[in-house]
Amino acid sequence: MFYRENGQFKTSYQADQQIFPITQDRWGVLLIVAFAFVGVPFLADEYMFRAILIPFLIMALAALGVNILVGYCGQISLGSGAFMAVGAYAAYNWFIRIDGMPLIVALLLGGFFATLVGIFFGIPSLRVRGLYLAVATLAAQFFCDWAFLRIKWFTNDSASGTAAVADLQVFGLPLDSPLAKYLFCLSVLVVFGVLAKNLVRSAIGREWMAIRDMDVAASVIGIRPMYAKLSAFAVSSFIVGVAGALWAFIYLGSWEPAAFSVDRSFQLLFMVILGGMGSIMGSFFGAGFIIVLPIIINQVLPFLGEIAGVSVSTAALTHAEQIIFGSLIVWFLIVEPHGLAKLWSVAKQKLRIWPFPH
């Protein structure tokens, strides 16, 4: 009823193949993007920008990258945190060592080096599969953790091992207010979102999906597994690397290798699985869920404790947070193993046929 494609006739291949073939979708997405650019800056306060919106945008970008590898190409990776770290430190070194390096170029160079590292650590995927691969990619994680901690050159020989950037500018505009940072991250996300969406529905995207569904069968029909798998690793780690550089430069400002530990890799995988594997939209849902959930738990628990008349200590709060987070994830996997994106498509279907049940 609300969401029907009746009467929308396609008269050319171009019209049939566009990203959002249904008019409602097209307008809906345009409205959301317009709202994010114009509406949100008026509504959100500084806390919202700093604690929720900026981390959400950057992690959504990273989840997008991981989703290309895990969701579209079916190669489970637990090394995403490492690729973020490579992106961050490569961008940092270019930015700090070359005078007047533009921020965007530094970010892209960060992504480029993450790509190289990603391809290198993707090579085992040609031989090993599934859970073996997941553990093998942990090698990347621990190696990068170690390298950025122990090799002082990467952190510009700073005594504390902390890397920091200041005076960020884009095309001469300073990125100092939360609003400016938000808009910058949003623009990057929109650009990469459109690129990723187009990539996964192109020939290479179909190759990835064929490899995911059954790699032997895919190679039988003439898809080169090496090319498909390594290109998925390359694209994924490029996006993840750029997200890592953004996370370090824009969100953190000064950071240590612990910011990209193995927990970050797990977090990204959570986003992809809870959001929905093989869905661009799902990456956004998953990132939102994982970023907002701990904040909500953090806010609600002391409040509940106050009502019950118990004072909650910080340690107890952390543990309670872990308990609730863990059980919510398990519960969610049981209720909807295909993720939030599946819920979204179910909702769309319901809207389409409303008021009839079938």
Binding site: A139, F142, L149, G326, P337
Partner: protein
């Protein structure tokens, strides 16, 4: 030469401890196809339970005999692990039958968070001691053969003996008892096992119980060596290369893999570490496992991967 052998022995002992944790992974993966990331959290949980019971029992029951108190604490911790196993099956696994491996992996990650949180809520989050009366003085061997001899931790030796006993007991259990046969049948083929009347759910509870006991033994040994604290749960990440090196489905693989990784780690740290700034043992284990995987993708003793289209 003496120093080399000493490092080698140290590595073998450490490897034995990795094997213990890896064993838990393999048992559960074989029987239910779940890659149990929560094994590390189970080790921490079991060790916390053991440590606190060992503290509370003499305190409240007035039990003087250390051995008896420790045995009681061990039994109670084992019961706690049985409850955990039963709850995991009842609340999580039963609802996730037939899901993809990734989903199950994520579910066990959720269990990890849960166990970490609840363990520290119930038992406290300080550093605790487990004192099971392990001998602490180092032992000198071959003093006549080498200059200065080889120093070996008696504690490590005892730990290795316990680990070997546990492995022997497990293989007896798997080979000789009816339950063990049922477990092997389930590991071989879920559907076939179910069709001849083996109750899958009960088998899963049993195998998680066994993994819980293995975690308890591992936690006890690690805990008495290093003290029981949160970092114990990261021991799972140290044991992962062992599992993939030995093969996800092989018990002997977990043992041999553990020894290889233990020795490789120690030797690399001692002889290679100084050149690159130290601290390389954690990633070296992974790289070592990765090197093996490139040659044998199913691990040393894993089942051969046969692809059907």
């Amino acid at each position: 030469m003496g120093f080399f052998l000493e490092t080698l022995f140290g590595g073998l002992m450490a490897g034995m401890l990795y094997s213990l944790v890896a064993l838990g992974f393999v048992l559960i993966f074989k029987a239910s196809g779940v890659f149990n990331f929560a094994q590390g959290a189970m080790v921490l949980f079991a060790a916390l339970a053991m440590a606190r019971f060992g503290e509370w029992i003499p305190q409240y029951l007035g039990l003087e005999n250390m051995l008896l108190a420790n045995l009681l604490a061990f039994a109670m911790a084992a019961v706690v692990m049985f409850v955990v196993a039963w709850l995991v099956e009842l609340l999580v696994l039963r609802h996730l039958v037939n899901q993809e491996g990734t989903t199950l992996l994520m579910a066990t990650l959720g269990i990890t968070y849960f166990l970490d949180g609840i363990g520290q809520t119930l038992f406290g989050s300080d550093i605790y001691k487990i004192d099971v009366g392990m001998p602490k003085e180092p032992l000198m061997l071959f003093e006549s053969t080498f200059d200065g001899g080889i120093m070996i931790n008696q504690e490590d030796l005892v730990a290795a003996v316990i680990a070997a006993l546990l492995v022997a007991a497990l293989s007896l259990f798997f080979q000789k008892t009816g339950t063990g046969r049922a477990l092997r049948a389930v590991a071989d083929d879920h559907q076939a096992a179910q069709s001849i009347g083996i109750p899958l759910n009960r088998i899963w509870v049993i195998v998680w119980c066994v993994a819980g006991v293995v975690a308890l033994v591992a936690g006890m040994i690690w805990g008495s060596k290093l003290g029981v604290q949160f970092s114990l749960s990261t021991v799972a990440l140290r044991a992962l290369p062992v599992v993939i090196l030995g093969g996800l489905t092989s018990v002997p693989g977990a043992i041999i893999g553990g020894l290889i990784i233990g020795v490789g780690e120690k030797l690399s740290e001692v002889f290679l570490g100084p050149y690159v700034g130290g601290g390389i043992e954690i990633w070296f284990a992974y790289v070592l496992a990765l090197g093996f995987l490139l040659v044998r993708p199913q691990g040393l003793f894993g089942e051969k991967i046969i692809d059907r289209v």
